[in-house]
């Protein structure tokens, strides 16, 4: 164990705890509804925090641990693929935009499920939504925990199980007590750490490799394909890489953890600021992070496990205490994704199922106990799942991403902008999305040369439109307020 590396990581976790306790205090002092405070931060996010929490939430282990690892193997083609994420910085907030924020306030929605229930006046839609959130985000969360534990295992040099325990305890404490406000505030700190950490590491890597020109020469000498857009074995086709525009680009608009943030900001001014900051930060971090992976190749050849590239290059090219600071970045990425998912799954249980269907008259005190309790229990369950870690972190994570996108994108987006969209359209679209995604992902690899998420997104669009049009006679409009009060 290297104390100089571990100390900065430890201080980082300590700082995160302080924010958690501070957020907990502000929940206790707030006069507003506990639910809105705990799961949505009282809709008070400013521009900087909104941008950071959006970026940090989807800039997850897949980009921070898996991503550079694949870039190490595939070369520049994978950096090209990663840059499809720049679009998320502006697209999500522009497209969901003010209309979504206004509607969510009008419906008093605390979760995406609340929003869908009010928009479609349908409990079936709400239940499908809640269940897919629970299933898909739970598996995404497990993948992230594995990533977090692996990182600690590599850096600190302790067994996987102990690493997992340290990670679980750190995340659980601040999420359980601090709720969404703690999640968003820690995301802002974590996002800043990622921004600075990747910059330092990129510069150090370039210097260690003897400058960009020398690195390019080494890469070309080893395998010229590494500097083409087509990957080390020329297997990254334009169609496949472009389909990531859907998976990690525009379709992110349907992810519940992202839509939730699009209803949490304070004013249109915060949203404008968040669009600008978000675009710059996402692009900057993604570019630097994946370039590090490629540039690491000539410096540290022959790393077998992709997930180890990031920690190993940091330990190689930086003085120990700086490496500790920089390694807080992927740690931050993982924590900031996990904390959002944990809270979201908890809100699906507490708000979408328990309060809506089982005990609508539950007292504030009971809701509080439930929220803290469910969040904690979920954390423990994920911990138990992550003890038997699956190997391909990035794919497990992307599976959950794709499933949720195929499920939610059209009910959310068309529900917002297309008046004729109705609950029958939404239900058939969600079911088509989930089922066709699972079938395609399991039985066909890359149909038509594109990622398996593309066709389900197309199918669910077709079903949404056709079924809505076919049932438009029965549908009477939507004005009833389904909120709890």
């Amino acid at each position: 164990m290297n104390i100089a590396v571990v100390m900065p990581l430890f201080l980082f976790i300590l700082l995160i705890f302080f924010i958690g306790f501070w957020a907990d205090r502000s929940i206790r002092l707030s006069k507003k509804d506990f639910m809105q405070e705990y799961f949505l931060g009282g809709r008070q996010l400013g521009g900087f925090i909104l941008a950071m929490t959006m970026m940090a939430t989807y800039g997850s282990a897949s980009s921070f641990i898996g991503g550079p690892g694949v870039a190490y193997t595939e070369g520049f083609g994978w950096v090209l693929l990663a840059m499809t994420q720049v679009v998320t910085g502006y697209f999500v907030l522009m497209v969901l935009g003010k209309k979504f924020a206004i509607k969510a306030r009008e419906y008093k929605a605390v979760t995406l499920t609340d929003y869908l229930r009010s928009r479609y006046e349908s409990h079936t839609v709400a239940l499908i939504a809640a269940i897919s959130i629970i299933i898909f985000l739970f598996s995404a969360m497990a993948a992230q925990w594995v990533g977090g534990a692996r990182l600690i295992e590599t850096v600190v040099g302790i067994p996987y199980t102990s690493a997992l325990s340290i990670f679980a305890v750190s995340v659980l404490i601040y999420v359980v007590i601090g709720g969404f406000r703690a999640v968003a505030l820690t995301d802002a700190v974590q996002g800043s750490v990622m921004f600075i950490g990747t910059l330092i590491l990129l510069i150090a890597t370039i210097i260690a490799g003897g400058g960009i020109d020398a690195i390019m020469n080494d890469l070309t000498a080893e395998n010229p394909n590494l500097i083409t857009p087509f990957g080390a074995d020329s297997t990254l086709t334009p169609a496949y890489v472009s389909s990531f525009w859907i998976l990690v680009g525009v379709a992110v608009v349907g992810l519940p953890q992202v839509t939730l943030r699009a209803m949490s900001y304070k004013s249109s001014r915060s949203m404008h600021r968040a669009i600008i900051i978000g675009t710059v930060v996402v692009g900057f971090v993604m570019l630097n992070m994946h370039l590090i992976g490629v540039f690491a190749r000539p410096i540290l050849p022959g790393i077998e496990v992709g997930d180890r590239v990031m920690p190993m290059i940091a330990l190689e090219v930086l003085p120990a205490w700086v490496a500790g600071l920089v390694l807080a970045a992927p740690m931050a990425a993982i924590m900031s994704t996990v904390d959002s998912l944990l809270l979201l799954v908890s809100s699906a249980f507490v708000k979408d199922i328990y309060i809506t269907y089982i005990k609508p008259e539950a007292s504030e005190k009971r809701v509080k106990t439930m929220s803290f309790g469910v969040t904690a229990i979920l954390g423990v369950l994920v911990f138990l799942m992550a003890l038997q870690p699956p190997d391909l972190l990035i794919w497990l994570n992307l599976f959950a991403f794709g499933g949720l996108e195929a499920t939610f994108i059209w009910p959310v987006v068309l529900g917002l902008y297309w008046k004729k969209g109705n609950k029958y359209g939404a239900i058939s679209s969600m079911l088509t999305g989930i089922i066709s995604y699972i079938i395609i992902d399991q039985f066909f690899t890359q149909p038509l040369g594109v990622h398996s998420v593309v066709l389900p997104v197309v199918f669910s669009f077709i079903f949404y439109v056709i079924v809505s049009l076919m049932t438009s006679q029965e549908y009477a409009g939507h004005t009833v307020d389904y909120s709890r009060s």
Binding site: F76, V79, M83, V86, V95, I102, S268, I276, T279, V280
Partner: protein, 89 residues
Amino acid sequence: MDKQDPRFKIANREALIGIGLAVINFLWWFGFAYGLGSKPPEEYNYILGLPAWFFMSCVGGFLLMSVLVIFVVNVFFTDVSLDVEDEDS
């Protein structure tokens, strides 16, 4: 109150701007990556040490989008109240 709300007209326009930016972003990204990157690696040009296709598509594309987004938000985006008129959320 639904369709008549003038705020939604603003929101619709901003959503269309978002889609327009994404289209520009994609065309730029795709055009430079595969337009310049499809020739054999020996014939590549380099900008600041990086292959020209990569520099234009990823670095240049990112800078272009940042500038466009800053411009569009400052010029075309309008401040509106998000609250429901008769009560607070």
